[in-house]
């Protein structure tokens, strides 16, 4: 593939998904500046390996690259939050998820929801971002996070349970 042709093909396939790439990077790094760096680095990486991209789903492909770039960065720059650390917590989530609490979110609660989502462990936060914000299918999410479909389903359920738990405790604290 010629350089110019490759460049054109790349621009056409990748640029439309820049918002998606940035949104994921922003949620994973939790700050603007690093998120921009991540997207830039991921785009360069994606360009380098673009010859190997023959699929149809450019968005999922770019998001995979962004995610991998972010995780490499997170592992180097932060105390590791890559995985959910306490099994006990997961356990309490599942019990708690069985306790419905008649949630009614007002628009003033949105900031609280944002904070709660930021507090989730990375692997929980990313599935919620991919599903509820990005509206990827389970199959696409499985591709992006490189996990079986069943894992996507159960992780999403646990992540939402945990999110609800955090959100509820914040809402209770509120004066």
């Amino acid at each position: 593939m010629g350089g110019k042709e490759k460049l054109e093909r790349f621009e056409k396939a990748i640029l439309p998904h820049l918002d998606a790439a940035y949104n994921l990077a922003r949620w994973l790094t939790r700050n603007e500046h690093d998120a921009q760096d991540m997207v830039q680095e991921a785009s360069l990486r994606a360009f380098k390996f673009f010859d190997g991209f023959h699929g149809v789903d450019a968005r999922a492909w770019l998001l995979t690259t962004v995610r991998n770039t972010c995780y490499t960065w997170l592992a180097q720059n932060r105390r590791s939050q890559l995985t959910t650390s306490f099994d006990e917590e997961i356990h309490t989530v599942e019990k708690d998820a069985l306790n419905p609490s008649a949630l009614a979110l007002k628009s003033s609660d949105m900031e609280m929801l944002k904070v709660s989502l930021e507090e989730l462990p990375d692997d929980f936060r990313e599935v919620i971002v991919l599903r509820d914000l990005e509206e990827l299918s389970y199959k696409q999410i499985a591709e992006v996070i490189n996990a079986p479909l069943g894992t996507v389903m159960s992780r999403l359920a646990r992540a939402r349970g945990r999110l609800k738990q955090i959100l509820c405790s914040h809402l209770k604290e509120k004066p």
């Binding site: 918002d19 360069l44 699929g55 069985l98 419905p100 949105m110 944002k114 939402r160």
Partner: protein, 257 residues
Amino acid sequence: MDCSNAETLLDAYVDGELDPLRNLDIEEHLDGCARCAQSYSDRQAIRGGLKTESLYFKAPADLGKRILRSVRQAAKAEAPAGWFSGSWLKIAAPLATAALVILMLVPYFGGPSSDQILTQEVVASHIRSLMVNHLADVPSTDEHTVKPWFNGKLDFSPPVSDLAKQGFPLVGGRLDYLHNRPVAALVYQRDKHVINVFIWPSDNSAQTGGPVKTHQGYRVIRWTGSGMNFWVVSDLEQSQLAKFTDLLKSSLAAMAS
């Protein structure tokens, strides 16, 4: 359906990822169970909240431009024109010659050629398809079902023809991965023998072919025609496989004309 089942499936239900039958089961349960119905509406409330615009971070306006700039630079570094200009040539030419000589010699000194690697890959794919009972993603003897199935799954449309009348019925199609790219696999059968035909676009427009190879007891025949690479692999006996290949080629030629 009981509450614990419902709870497990509730997220997939909210996400529209369940099959219609399970959807009905859940809906029936939600109608009769206030607790699960509440759990469901909690999820909807959070989901609704997550759709709020303030939670979606849009890329800053200049990010696209900055990325384009750095990617263009990277592209320039990759472009062949840059390599052969100016003083580069003095250093690059001898290096390139040396590299070329090595590349040409490699096949003679035991390193596997790309052809050999591909043969191994093709046979491995064939064996895998038999082992895990994953012959076809779209089990169908109808070429008009199999061909459209590939739409949207590949960046090309493979030619599909049924050879049932000639004794080699089509049994289905499958997505496979070869040579670092997704390819179409068509599955044919002769008695108890399975034939896999792997198809993907070729850079070479000329008609070429190769000799029959045997690898791990499987026969592999390959050729290039009408812009596609074809690799046929089976444990079928040689004359039978040659017959199949001839039939497939002439059927493809008839389709093309």
